[in-house]
Amino acid sequence: MPVVIGFEGSANKIGVGIIRDGEVLSNPRRTYITPPGQGFLPGETAKHHRGVILTVLQEALDEAGLKAADIDCVAYTKGPGMGAPLVTVAIVARTVAQLWGKPLLGVNHCIGHIEMGRLITNAQNPTVLYVSGGNTQVIAYSERRYRIFGETIDIAVGNCLDRLARVIKISNDPSPGYNIEQMAKKGNKYIELPYTVKGMDVSFSGILSYIEETLFAMLVEITERAMAHCGSQEVLIVGGVGCNLRLQEMMGVMCKERGARLFATDERFCIDNGVMIAQAGWEMFRSGHVTELSDSWITQRYRTDEVEVTWRD
């Protein structure tokens, strides 16, 4: 019954979570929120994380009712993400791993989202749509790899929405995407705008002023194409943009037409959090992975398919 603690801070959220055999024991998180019209920069974000990480770590232990000795493994985000925040979090993870005498595990952030989604929803072998501020990928598992079937050829869909929010100065509290969604609910005029799908891939950079309908319809199309390729009857949406109910609704319509099932998680687990890193770490730890300190460097680029998924058949 290994107990794994996970540290996540690759963008503007800093989270520490503890998991034991599929049970979430704690998952506290803080978000670095900038004023309307401003995005978050690496240096300031790292400074924010540095200021709260030890408090959040103590909260995670207290909420779980555990002491350091009860932890079996320390997992942290190796990448991808922003360099300075990644380093800040990795440094704390490496230090506590050594202080407590526990093994260390570097986790791929995207795989953290996938494994948390699988745990919470119990989807067996879904086509995964991973959509967030930093990533947009359609992923299917095959022979020990999370294969990237399709992705954005420029910016992530969440990045596109965040930039739109900045241009029209929507509040970043709790997140720009959430506030766009609330405003979009009140809209009733659909404007036809260019729709850019290239086979399995999508492009968002030319369409910053677009509304949700177009972006999400593009994502539904590429997810459907991947499902057709794999003969899949399940869709799992993960990543911060996955909180969006309109996206879930549109994906649901496509799934219903195909007789497939749709899975999604709520904001606790869609949005970056510590326990998803702990969960992916738990799977990796059980199947024998460990990260040596000298190999524990963080990396801003880390593709989902670089990891050998030894814990699945």
């Binding site: 103590q58 440094i91 202080l99 300190l293």
Partner: protein
């Protein structure tokens, strides 16, 4: 024994000098960091050394445990300043973590 960043800076020896190296002029910087124990020095070193410097070129940093002396060489003063400043921030974070979640378990 906890080691705060304020008490650290009292003991730190810093020196910066320009050396001529053929036609290049490189900046050098030395920092000596005392730790309460060898074990804590090792923990700090292993937490701080794995990540590459953000800039691909222009700076080399050598962390050497035996003399507890760190040595930087850089082409530009600005790059040197950023790297040292970053390092001190990270070192301070390691020490705060050790204060809050230490002492290290016996091996």
């Amino acid at each position: 024994m906890p080691l705060s960043i304020r008490s650290l800076t009292k003991h730190v020896n810093m020196a910066a000098c320009k050396t001529e190296n053929g036609s290049e002029r490189k900046l050098e910087f030395f920092l000596k960091v005392p730790f309460p124990s060898e074990r804590e020095a090792t923990i700090a070193l292993q937490s701080l050394s794995p990540d590459p410097e953000p800039r691909k070129g222009g700076i080399t940093k050598n962390l050497d445990l035996s003399g507890q002396t760190l040595r930087w060489t850089a082409d530009e003063a600005r790059i040197l300043r950023v790297s040292v400043s970053s390092f001190l921030d990270h070192l301070s974070l390691v020490m705060e973590t050790m204060d809050a979640f230490g002492p290290p378990v016996s091996q």
